[in-house]
Amino acid sequence: MKFGIVVSEGPYQHQASDSAYNFVKAALAKGHEVSRVFFYHDGVNVGTRLSIPPQDDRQIQEQWTALGKEHDLDLVICIAAAQRRGLLDENEAKRQGKDADNIAEGFRISGLGQLIEMGIQADRTITFGD
């Protein structure tokens, strides 16, 4: 079965991104497909490579990057939500005249259409949020 996942809360502030991560890991372990993980609202903050959590805490962004690499996951950050919150890739930073980007490896920034497309293509869409 094909799952589409929405993460709509920021990391550390809320358990949502942890729950989503545990769900995705379990779904993959059971042989399901995860067609996309879409990060929306404050969930876009999961994709910054500049966070420095204490060493004895879980590394949320690194966990997603590693899981994404292992299973070739499509980790999509909503561009509209990302621009509001200061999450940029190299192209966006250039286009907007900003002096830096901060997107982490394995994530990509794209439009809200990716969320709708995920809903159309996935057998089940599940949202982790507040």
């Binding site: 929405v6 609202h41 509209a80 809200l112 969320l115 709708i116 809903g119 159309i120 869409t125 949020g129």
Partner: protein, 136 residues
């Protein structure tokens, strides 16, 4: 854009302005309209506050997006289900909500209300009739 037509329900249960959910939900609805899916919006619990008349955000500095609900008809988003019990619990009636209309192209472009006032039991039926439920 796609051969598949699915029933999408956007569930709105939060009041506007205090948090961003209502505003960013609306942004999804507007983008989603381009995908020619069967779209409905549900307003229940505090979500009914999104549709009230007379919102004026000047003094708080936030963007007033309430007029956007009236434009949904232009995007062919014409099914706004509002739960009667949620209104009543909050001391509201239909008169407290904006007029949100669409032009029915199958009926000589007659102006019709997009707001469909339904009971909690009917809302449960609407929810159970969907392929994709997105909650905000």
């Amino acid at each position: 854009m796609s051969e598949t037509i699915k029933k999408f329900l956007y569930v709105n249960r939060k009041a506007p302005y205090g948090t961003i959910y209502a505003q960013e939900s609306l942004e999804v609805v507007l983008i989603g309209a381009a995908f020619d899916q069967d779209v409905s919006l549900a307003f229940l619990d505090d979500g009914v506050f999104q549709l009230t008349k007379g919102q004026d955000t000047k003094e708080i500095g936030l963007k007033n997006f309430s007029a956007t609900y009236r434009a949904l008809g232009d995007y062919e988003v014409t099914k706004l289900y509002v739960e009667k019990e949620s209104l009543e619990e909050r001391g509201l009636t239909l008169d407290d909500l904006q007029n949100i209309e669409y032009e029915d192209e199958d009926d000589d472009y007659a102006e019709k209300s997009s707001i469909r006032l339904i009971s909690r039991a009917e809302m449960a039926e609407v929810m159970a009739d969907q392929d994709v439920v997105l909650s905000f």
